[in-house]
């Protein structure tokens, strides 16, 4: 069963590398924030898998909770920063110009 968890962790690491592509290349800043959030969610799962491999789940669960909480706060903070700094066209007016449906 350890081999199975090791394989799953490696697959998750591969997915993290793929998401990193969007973080490096991504055309806008917001794409990079999305990429960071996605990597954070995958890391939360990966930490618990590591705990299963090392047979110390009770320890790694605590680290994982802290990681999830800080990931949430970091995403909100980054979104707020670029919301304030880059607001050129407020969303409502922009929506009324297009008037879709």
């Amino acid at each position: 069963m350890e081999n199975f968890f090791l394989t799953i962790s490696l697959a998750l690491g591969f997915l993290v590398l793929l998401s990193l592509y969007r973080g490096v290349v991504g055309p806008t800043v917001l794409d990079r924030i999305v990429s960071v959030g996605v990597i954070g969610t995958k890391t939360t799962v990966m930490l618990i898998l590591m705990g299963l491999i090392y047979k110390r789940v009770d320890m790694f669960v605590d680290i994982s909770i802290a990681y999830a909480m800080l990931n949430f706060i970091a995403t909100l903070a980054a979104a707020k920063f670029f919301h304030v700094r880059k607001s050129v066209i407020p969303g409502v007016r922009f929506y009324k110009e297009r008037e879709v449906k």
């Binding site: 009770d58 969303g91 449906k101």
Partner: protein
């Protein structure tokens, strides 16, 4: 009353997290929960408590399985769109009116929209209109039919949905 309920919920959380039931750690838990209750008693429950809250909680728990089923459906839909070689997406922005009034029901509706088939809540204007990004035509039609809004209104007993 709010203090006591907040304290009990937090203390249950502490017992689950701590996992040690000797006197020293229990007393630490009581002190910590009292501190957090003192700091943020008005954050957990904004309005006065009543028996309604129990009803709402029970109904919300009943609502979760349906929501999980919808989430699985939506993920299969998105997976089909992603893995299809031509990517048959038709994105559009839709304005959606709502009649919900309470904070919690607005939030529950918005998060349910974000989680279910191919739609994301982009903004709320004046607590009356949602601006929703839809990924394909079929999904937008499903959303405008308004099945989910009725369920949410039934959970939180909004005005106009008193039947049943």
């Amino acid at each position: 009353m709010r203090y006591i309920t907040t304290f009990l919920i937090l203390f249950l959380n502490w017992l689950i997290w701590s996992g040690m039931f000797d006197a020293f750690h229990i007393s630490l838990g009581v002190i910590s929960c009292a501190l957090v209750t003192f700091l943020s008693h008005d954050l957990f429950f904004k309005e006065k408590l009543s028996y309604r809250n129990i009803v709402e909680t029970v109904r919300f728990i009943k609502y979760i399985p349906w929501l999980l089923y919808q989430i699985v459906l939506s993920n299969i839909h998105v997976a089909y769109l992603v893995l299809h070689p031509k990517m048959p997406i038709e994105p559009s922005m839709v304005r959606l009116e709502t009649e919900l009034k309470k904070d919690l029901s607005l939030v529950a509706y918005a998060n349910s929209i974000t989680l279910t088939p191919g739609t994301i809540t982009a903004d709320i204007v004046d607590r009356k209109h949602y601006i929703v990004h839809c990924i394909s035509k079929k999904v937008a039609d499903d959303l405008l039919a308004g099945d989910m809004e009725k369920r949410i209104a039934h959970i939180f007993e909004e005005a106009g949905y008193k039947e049943d």
